[in-house]
Symmetry: C2
């Protein structure tokens, strides 16, 4: 079995090393999203670039590695937006969401790893009007935090 099920205090839990997701905004003010088939949803979902931590890996290191592999993006100014449990009832997955502003495309994707991932770019000014296209809680939370912090910075 690929999923690792453990029992603690009589409770079955899906064990997990933790994960990261990134609100990546490039120098042209576009946020980079990935569209891929997700079997649990039985359809394609539009999501923040995300990935699973390797054992002992710092979340920021995972996030920068995943963003380069999935999207071919490097550089930028990084900060943590928020972190939290995704499914605390039965999954041991703690996720850290980052904002990476001013990232730059290298033009390369690690296609072996990500053959079926389509890159989608949204101008950041369109996030609010397109919010209803999203169907993934981490992506909704990350983009909402980004839009909110952006509005505050601009003194709205």
């Amino acid at each position: 079995m690929y999923l690792k099920i453990v029992v603690e205090n009589g409770k079955e839990i899906v064990d997990h090393p933790g994960s990261v997701a990134v609100v990546a905004v490039d120098t042209d003010d576009r946020v980079w999203l990935v569209r891929q088939r997700r079997e649990p949803a039985r359809k394609e979902l539009l999501e923040l670039p995300a990935g699973t931590r390797e054992e002992g890996e710092e979340p920021l290191v995972t996030a920068q590695r995943e963003l380069e592999e999935e999207c071919g993006l490097t550089g930028g100014a990084w900060r943590e937006l928020v972190s939290g449990w995704t499914t605390p009832g039965f999954v041991r997955e703690h996720m850290t969401l980052f904002l990476a502003e001013g990232v730059e495309p290298t033009g390369e994707q690690d296609l072996d790893e990500n053959e079926d991932v389509e890159i989608v770019r949204w101008p950041v000014d369109e996030i609010e009007q397109r919010f209803g296209e999203l169907d993934d809680l981490k992506t909704q939370l990350g983009l909402l935090l980004y839009v909110t912090s952006r509005a505050t910075t601009r003194g709205r």
Copy 2:
């Protein structure tokens, strides 16, 4: 095994009937949260009242039932805030978040079901300053959507 693992297109998935969570605000402008031990987190978490749908049950019905059982709250004006997948990589859990404004306490909890759930009430004006106490993505998303919509309504 309590968790139901299925394999679809070669992918292991934790099957799930879907879930709900509620941003419940009472007539004294306090949001009701629940604090409980969560084995996957190995600690207590502060979360929106939430629950699992029964087979074929409409999300709103689940949400109103769970809010009454966990918190002893009834009534109020209900609307959907957002919905999305919690863990689309390996869990088939689609969650609907509701806002229930003007709910009223009956003074009763279904204690058989919820012996270890502590009710915590936050004045809604304190949500933003206390946001850092949260460590659960659905709760962060629900409260952020509530605070944002409230600010918009007040023309801020």
